[in-house]
Subunit: 221 residues, 2 copies
């Protein structure tokens, strides 16, 4: 950003943060398959040498970057609004999913040539600090308070919200609030026995923005 760049020289945390940001931005831009030391170095405005001094390859660098970029807020369930808290937690996930870090994780997980060890490392380094899916935090909270049956919180059920959002991102690249509400009302709440299981038609039959039949879902077949 300096007109007279190269005059100052970054070190320590300042430099590392720039490299981490560059790595995450780069993979979000070009994908895992085209992630190179060269690309990261250029984006971080540093020399490749500097990177090779610390990491053997781009993926190792990226994993460190993801570990260090901890933000990854946990939803904080409130008083007595299951529906609202679920929507909030899903919104949190959407925000993270569209962040460079979220896109980087996506890229890592969807790489056909992905090494299982890499995925393993990803979980150990990035996710192990958290306690479960976004919605799971909320659902458990309300289950503990007797608002819903804990036996219903199966692996499938606690994944419903995250799965629908993941697929939506793959399909359209965007997720708006209406869709989050629809997920909660039409999929999540029914699954935990707090339907609209057999709802009032007026409440349910407004799919997204009007027209049904415009699903166009990924992997529709």
């Amino acid at each position: 950003m300096d007109e007279t760049a190269g005059r100052t020289r970054r070190r320590g945390k300042e430099l590392l943060d720039a490299i981490y940001a560059a790595a995450v931005d780069e993979v979000a831009a070009v994908g895992i398959g085209r992630l190179t030391m060269d690309g990261i170095a250029r984006r971080a405005a540093t020399a490749r040498t500097t990177l090779y001094r610390r990491w053997p390859d781009p993926v190792e660098l990226l994993l460190d970057a993801l570990r260090e970029l901890h933000p990854l807020e946990a939803p904080t369930p409130g008083a007595d609004d299951l529906r609202g808290d679920l929507i909030t937690s899903l919104r949190l996930m959407v925000e993270w999913g569209f962040s460079p870090a979220g896109r980087a994780v996506m890229a890592l997980l969807t790489d056909p040539a992905r090494d299982p060890a890499i995925v393993e490392a990803l979980y150990e380094r990035v996710f192990d600090s958290r306690g479960g899916t976004f919605t799971q935090t909320v659902l458990r909270h309300y289950a503990e308070r007797g608002h819903l049956d804990p036996a219903l919180l199966t692996p499938v059920v606690v994944d419903i919200g995250e799965a629908l959002i993941t697929k939506r991102i793959l399909d359209t690249g965007t997720v708006d609030d209406d869709y989050l509400e629809a997920i909660v009302d039409q999929a999540l709440l029914p699954a935990v026995g707090l339907g609209p299981a057999a709802p009032s038609p007026a409440e349910v039959n407004r799919p997204e923005k009007g027209r049904p039949g415009e699903t166009r879902g990924t992997l529709d077949g």
Copy 2:
């Protein structure tokens, strides 16, 4: 396959099919980011020249390959077994998802550097022959016969099964039949008002293979 290869020379459909298969296999193996004319040519045992005569770049080739590799069976709902037909349709999707073609589509959709125009082309060339998601075909069938409320078949609901499977593939790389049953029982049927909405605990509390809490889901945060 011939010991004395190069003796015979492929043409027309025979050659094209070999190229298409090679493209789809190659992207499934190395990912979209590393898909090259060179790699496809080597895998198809042909000359790069032959590819450049027909396609300007690997992605265009791949899109043609996916269009030409039509298999992509539609579920055929049976008599009176909604649950069974749903499971069958999901199994169909899983099979397709693990096929080279399915993996290729996945790779295209999850490429961070994906061009929206490419995704658009993908739908036009590949999916437009089908009428909706795998489960949607089944759900509509039973809705038309009065087994469930058509108003419940929102875009979210018809995507639940496919979304959970997609995420499961991303997370673990495998989907077994128990999981398909769990999806239908714990997510899909409740969403169409045919619960176990408040189920008998014995039926529900067997998440996958025993231990709950082993979710380790993608994008768990």
